[in-house]
Subunit: 103 residues, 2 copies
């Protein structure tokens, strides 16, 4: 399996690992908190994602307001985090037509 | 770094690897085709994702219709693929209130 396929499989596996406590297999708020504490807290990663991005991702999480996070919501959450990480990596590289400095 | 953080980093790295040929660092149609051929073609993965899901993901790809795929569009594409993979894994496990059989 390629890196990208492994990445997709990991997204699914982590969700399932934390979401199995309920019979409907969704993430409760407590389960999400636990997941974030254990799976999204490395300084190498966390330090790259701006707090505002995390806030945006959290706000959008429970889109259907049922108090639980289903895999669709979780996948969008990860996509938002990935965009935050991408932006942080590319800061100053002149993306989006707003170059800070030439490479 | 956790599995999930590595997954997010891989998403960004793969995009950057294939998108570097243009000066605006987006994926052209040709680059996307190359990426899919090399990074999303393992039978273990590909066989799990239904063609309809891939079709849905592709249709939504170039949301802003500029002929290029930016990282935002790519992240949504991967989220769609992840949902397809999740659904395939959970088929028959009684998710979404439509159980095929008890576990």
């Amino acid at each position: 399996m390629s890196r990208l396929e492994k990445a997709i499989v990991s997204m699914v596996e982590v969700f399932e690992e934390y979401a199995t406590k309920d019979k409907n297999r969704q993430l409760s708020g407590t389960e999400l908190a636990e997941l974030m504490k254990k799976e999204l807290a490395s300084p190498e990663f966390h330090g790259k994602v701006e707090p505002a991005v995390l806030q945006e991702a959290m706000t959008n999480l429970d889109k259907n307001h049922d108090g639980e996070i289903n895999f669709r919501e979780f996948s969008m959450f990860l996509a938002t985090l990935a965009r935050g990480y991408y932006r942080a990596r590319n800061k100053g590289k002149g993306n989006k037509g707003k170059p800070d400095k030439p490479e």
